[in-house]
Subunit: 264 residues, 2 copies
Amino acid sequence: MPPNTALSPDTPTPARNDSAVVQTPAFSPLYQQIKGLILQSLQAGEWKPGELIPSEIELAGRFKVSQGTVRKAIDELAAENLVTRRQGKGTFVATHNEEQVQYRFLQLHPDIGQQQDEGRAQRSIIECKRIRASADIARTLQLRTGDSVIHVRRILSFNNTPTILEDIWLPSPVFKGLNAEQMAHYPGPTYAMFEMEYGVRMVRAEEKIRAVLPDAQQAQWLNTTTATPVLSVERVTFTYNDKPMELRRGLYLTDSHHYRNALS
Amino acid sequence: MPPNTALSPDTPTPARNDSAVVQTPAFSPLYQQIKGLILQSLQAGEWKPGELIPSEIELAGRFKVSQGTVRKAIDELAAENLVTRRQGKGTFVATHNEEQVQYRFLQLHPDIGQQQDEGRAQRSIIECKRIRASADIARTLQLRTGDSVIHVRRILSFNNTPTILEDIWLPSPVFKGLNAEQMAHYPGPTYAMFEMEYGVRMVRAEEKIRAVLPDAQQAQWLNTTTATPVLSVERVTFTYNDKPMELRRGLYLTDSHHYRNALS
DNA sequence: AAGTGGTCTAGACCACAAC
DNA sequence: TTGTGGTCTAGACCACTTG
């Protein structure tokens, strides 16, 4: 059997690179291939967010490798927050619901007081409707200009103080039926709603931050002035397979909050 | 032998929790203890930044554990960027010099063009002198109000465009003799200089970001106006053992740059 | 050829959770 | 008691680097 044959559920290939072959084009360790297979099952929705995945021993049997190899594959998935391990219970598909850290992608924290004041942000939806994607929005969402996207504009308030003004764009076909009612009243993080209602799990995000001045209307929504600088935060959120599934442009008031970042 | 006895170089304790003891107060896996020991050697400067540390096999022998256990300890150190593994060569103490990513803690990127335009930022030092720490600076550096600190104010320019105005505070006793000449002309990142000249390795940092307007003088230094919002970035930088060793307050011009952050 | 980190295995035992 | 993930070991072999 040739080395580095990609494993598939039908033809598990525990064999190592043991034959004399001229080239090893792109050596991929077994555990990486196993990781890829598990990833496929996650993408395919074989196990849904919050659910228990098969035990290491069972997966080892299924893929015909040792438990240690499965373990290393799952270790990496856990490091990427795709999966959560719980000793004595098993390994679960990660979710934006019960993660210790709700609002995993929101880096805005109050300057003082309990950091989880955020837990109960009031959402007020300004609008929510289908529009045609502009060129730049289409580009970042990997769509075509003019494709249908859902545009949501909302305000997040903490302690009844408007703090975040946010525009969200989502591809219509995936989020078909999303409406203002749902955005406003779903209990829990919006990303949790995306999982539950649309089967879309957001996995990672990239943000670009600037300092800007709000225009007149933006200032009004944020109950501030056009002379008060705010953070402009552009977030592209990705689901499995590095597919961009959301674009957000937010204005963050930083009078009594700050954007926090840990570097290592 | 009691379980969970902390390992020491003199009394290696490979034993597991195998005796019948009423309580296991704080179970700590062997590899964590090994990690702690290696960490101690790093802190003590036994191996300096850029140097090769003993091989896994040698460390395993020294600590009387298996290679696999040492491996897991080093895995974590590598994940925290304290150490760098190179197949075939060995494991090296991480450094701010040759890391693929120089300027590891600088998240400001140009909007367009090659991202490593940053590589050659011009530094111009406005001032560099010893002062007495104010209350808030002393607090974040874990000093006493009035303790001697070195204050540096400098401007970083990209393509001859002033972009960052930065105030830096460092504890004087550790950085004794630091002067403007050194800050301006050291070839390579400032954090690399801290390693080479003062034996201080910065390990991680925390940043708090706001949008603000510069005052008249700040605007002048940045060659902008008091009506142009800028990012206020406050960074606390830590060395081993979570000891804060530097406070930076920077103003970042975001006209043609942005602060980038990856969330996962 | 020798030495290093990287992968893979098989087996033993521990800590934790649930029945 | 059983099953899960977590730790630890010993040994084999692979891939990479250097002499």
